[in-house]
Amino acid sequence: MQVTMKFVRTKNEDPDQRDSFVVDVDPETSVFEAMSKVREEQDGSLAFRGTCNTGFCGDCTCQANGKRVVPCLVKVKDSVKEDAIEIKLIRNVAPVKDVLYDVDQFMWKKYKYFRPWLETNGTAPAVKDEDLEPVRLAMRCTVCGLCDEGCTVIDVDKEFLGPMALTKGLYRTTKDPRDQDTKQRFIEAGEKKGLWDCVHCWEASEHCPWGINPTHLIMDLRDDSIALGVKSGKGNPMAARHYNAFADSVKKSGWLNERMLASKTYGLPPYGLSLSGMMSQMPIALKAIRKGKASLRPHKSRPGARQIAKIFAKVEQSHKNKKA
């Protein structure tokens, strides 16, 4: 079939550049092959990445007719609309040329932050095959970047380390029974822009073409971090304070005491005297009282509060036993 391949060519200053090419391809062929055919036969200056055409290298990620895809995994017949396929950059990346983007800035720098190698002090005991299951899951990630591309947080904050690095860097290493630096890794991951900046919106899981479910892995990492007593890094105290205040509230009364949550997190009376906390929160608190959204009555416990406190006690005891 004849398909018009249209390229949104970024940072290409050649006044004679073409952006639209008609190619003759088998409808069963991949979109990446159609892109390559254009480059091979019609315009060798067209810039995009990709080598393997099997989904393995994870390099050719782009938008094809508005869908964010790994184009070697999509057939021409499934992408084409009105005999055309428009190829352009994914979102949230810095363009280099045409459909090339700065992968270092988008992903590699973030991946490196997590020291993506095992710290073993030279000794790595043999491990059971089943203990490596989670490790294998993270290893299936090809760094195609579709999770970071769809990430709600990266949308507003390009510095957020993001689901790819958390999966392939932090999850891969901390789940490996041979790694001996797990706690320190969680302390580093708990700094600003890291593990606790994720808003668990589940976009990453929806976007992953391999079903690796990065959001689920991030929630699992948080559970592991909490079990080791690490609720954020030293330079990111609010995350830990929020977790502790939330947990204290549910532990004491069975449900959320919003007033206590806010006061403990922001360091307000009777739990603290943070000036910045007061400056930022007092106007909201006063407005909430005026509007009848914040009650001044004492917070009542739920009828099942004692049973819920027992759940906390058992889990906390199991963490202590694990550490011992």
Binding site: T152, V153, D155, V156, D157, F160, K192, K193, W196, D197, V199, H200, C201, W202, E203, S205, E206, N213, T215, H216, M219, R222, D223, I226, A227, N236, M238, A239, R241, H242, Y243, F246, A247, V250, G254, W255, L256, E258, T265, Y266, I284, K287, A288, K291, G292, K293, A294, S295, R302, P303, G304, A305, Q307, I308, K310, I311, F312, K314, V315, S318
Partner: protein
Amino acid sequence: MVKVAFYPGCVAKGSCPELYTSSIKVCEKLGIELAELEDVGCTGAGVLSSEISDPINARTLAKAEQMGVPLMTICSTCTGVIALANVRLQDPEYRDKINREFLAEDGLEYKGTTEVKHLLWVLVEDVGLDVLTAASTQPLEGVKISPFYGCYLRRPDEAIKDGNRKSYIEKVTQAIGGTNVDISGKGKCCGFPSLTINEENALAMTAKHTSEARDKGADAMVVPCPLCHLELDGQQSRAEAQEKQDIDMPILHLSQLVGMALGFTPSEMEVQRHFVSTKNVEEKVKSLAVTAS
């Protein structure tokens, strides 16, 4: 008549009391019988470690199971977190462990049969859109509504179960006579989970969604989650200050929007408790009421 084990969640009984009141009124009018669960805990809201929240949620699911009816929430975060716990608890080995370690000593057992539903799903699947249209004595003709799902009523698929549920707000809005205004961020995070951890990000998200709704001409946004409301309504003025723009976008709870179509006045739906004025919507609804009478 549909009966549910009603799980209002912490925020509807805390800083969004208008959500609780409006939901009770709407359910009463539509014949949804609410048996409120009292002896249950917070879902953990995706904050608490699942090691702690799974047993708490198993306890809640077991209480609903004893009543033999679905568990209904009015908060998408509660829905998502408890539904995900329910997915994990379908594994018999894991469920047995939770039952044995945490529930048995209080004479409880969760058998894995409770269905978790948000009010939105009950409106469409149990009440029915036809009934909703028939009950709308004051259809919201000319009111332009921008649906904002947030995260947990769109993802993850294993908790949502039925993909049709991802467009239920639009269906409800249409059924009660309103006009949908689509925004690209309708299934994105409102920012609330980051509010205490990275406030700048949270406020940037709030500004992005509310300004998009404003630019597309919406009279109001509608949310099925009180956390989205606390963020998009409660933090909107701070988002305006951070992003240096006026937004002024009223945010309605789903129950308030439906309630106004069912004939309740805006003040009966307690819109006066909101931070962002809902005056434009109130005036439109009042003029509809005059036309109807």
